[in-house]
Symmetry: C2
Subunit: 361 residues, 2 copies
Amino acid sequence: MPEINYSYPQLYDFTKAIFLKIGCSEVHADTASKTLLSADLRGVDSHGIARLSGYVRLWEAKRVNAKPDIRIIHESPSTAVVEGDSGLGLVVAPFAMKIAIEKAGKAGTGWVCVQNSNHFGIAAYHAMMALEHDMIGIAMTNASPLVAPTFSIDKMLGTNPICVAAPAGKEPAFVADLATTTAANGKLEILQRKNLATPGGWVQDKEGHPSHDPHILKQGGALLPLGGDREHGSHKGYALGAIVDIFSGVLSGANYAPWVPPFPAYVPMPSRQPGKGIGHFLGAMRIDAFRPAAEFKESMDDWIQGFRKAKPVPGEEKVLVPGDPEREFEKERMENGIDLLQTIVDDLKQVSHKLGVPFLQ
Amino acid sequence: MPEINYSYPQLYDFTKAIFLKIGCSEVHADTASKTLLSADLRGVDSHGIARLSGYVRLWEAKRVNAKPDIRIIHESPSTAVVEGDSGLGLVVAPFAMKIAIEKAGKAGTGWVCVQNSNHFGIAAYHAMMALEHDMIGIAMTNASPLVAPTFSIDKMLGTNPICVAAPAGKEPAFVADLATTTAANGKLEILQRKNLATPGGWVQDKEGHPSHDPHILKQGGALLPLGGDREHGSHKGYALGAIVDIFSGVLSGANYAPWVPPFPAYVPMPSRQPGKGIGHFLGAMRIDAFRPAAEFKESMDDWIQGFRKAKPVPGEEKVLVPGDPEREFEKERMENGIDLLQTIVDDLKQVSHKLGVPFLQ
């Protein structure tokens, strides 16, 4: 499939114009665009501008409020709960992360739950906000139910990602950002486009049997938790996804489990809503609330260099440190632009036409 | 292999007598025995009394200090670092968890890193201490390097478990306790005894090739991170194990990565020690620092019941909630006693003889 190259500033300007057009403030449109496009920069194509039309459709369906009154509804010295007022998660989550960072500045750590939000893009964007403050950042979110827990036919959890970002000294930061499933939905989409079979342990069919069909989710199938099946530890992936759901949804007063609102606006809302919107969980730990930041960063350099020096298995060049591939993508794409598939470009042109916002110049 | 049944009080009395004999205080011997035996009660046989002789050997090798001066060396309103003074992790970790709970009482959350400790038994024991305070408990520890990260031949991480315990109302608590490997070492030991092959994705040989040999660790092989290989998400299991190592080891000033001291006393200490002993990370989040505890627990009941009602795949009776199997073990074993393998009993008899402590009556 043909691809068209755009620079980051081109995509930023268009994305921001779209968010402004649907009614976001200047500040919110800027934040939402940066959050969304950080996915494209970091090579997580499924979570970036490819979703812009989806956010617009959620706004059209009145599931996203472009002028939210985002506010703290409860707090303690090291915690807060944020009401997202149905705002874009792309804006609500950075708001909450800032509070976590402020709390950590005073109390040593800050932990902020969010209720009544929407999808927040990639977790890494939020967690990495902590790095420049010499803090460890943590970000989680629940999401639409696509995942069948171990032994289940029913889809009870989202791909519920966890991100942890820890600063280093001379080395780049450690950034682990992972869906708690064997493979994220974006990986399935790649196989769908190429019409290739999925490896074992990625998906099951609607009756709970193992499947290799990348289209199986459209036929009632489900993604599988990290591990794939019980023998390979899927109960652990399930437990991790559950932890993310409890921290993001139950602790915040958002929806949880199969009742998390879907991302596609054409999918009806779940039959019941035990909470409000989608939930996030954001944390910041000030390094020097534990030990001097310079010491920690020196040890992180040592840690990272240890892994880089580990002997690779035959056929592999080196052992990677979490965050390496995304950082290389970011450098390369900031320099050389971002290739978008023709289908994504067509989709963006439709949004452009629908909202009367000039397309990428 | 024959098994011999002992009651919990029998095992407790013997274990405590051993810890007293090596010089632990009355209080420490009590705590260490309860922590250690919680593993046997919860069905994690590899981490319970089967390790008692190992702890004694660490004490003989002067790697465990039976009279530690466990103390806070740094703190902020929501954090502390505890120096374990080479004490038993079985005692040091509960000390640290109590501080986390106290901090959470005042600041909303409490996060305590531990340096210079030893193996702490099962993570669940520590995390579950938070439950009676209407708090969510979190426990992690690093451990001796047995795990090869994705693409690595070298063993760089321990099985580095994560436990999260969250209180519910009418339902029993949610307790997820998982090694960040496909299978814990204890699972390998079971296959060794039965002389059965390991499933794929559990271990690799010393050259980094996939292996099905449960004895492969003794021949230079390694455990694999949750996921098994790159295609099945092992980079995620690796990232999770790395997060545990950074929180437990780097943040605390303990050793980390391949330099974590080994559990078997006959294994020499690593060539370098960038920190002190083994590290743990313990956390407590007070529920009502986020929302009223009664509301949260009601939602947790709803969450748990939702999963219990999920439709099971063919051949399975029901979908489990994390903590279900361990709780059933605990109830059953508290009532009917704990079966120990003859080899474990023989090992305990040797300890009994060596220290002059009468064996189980």
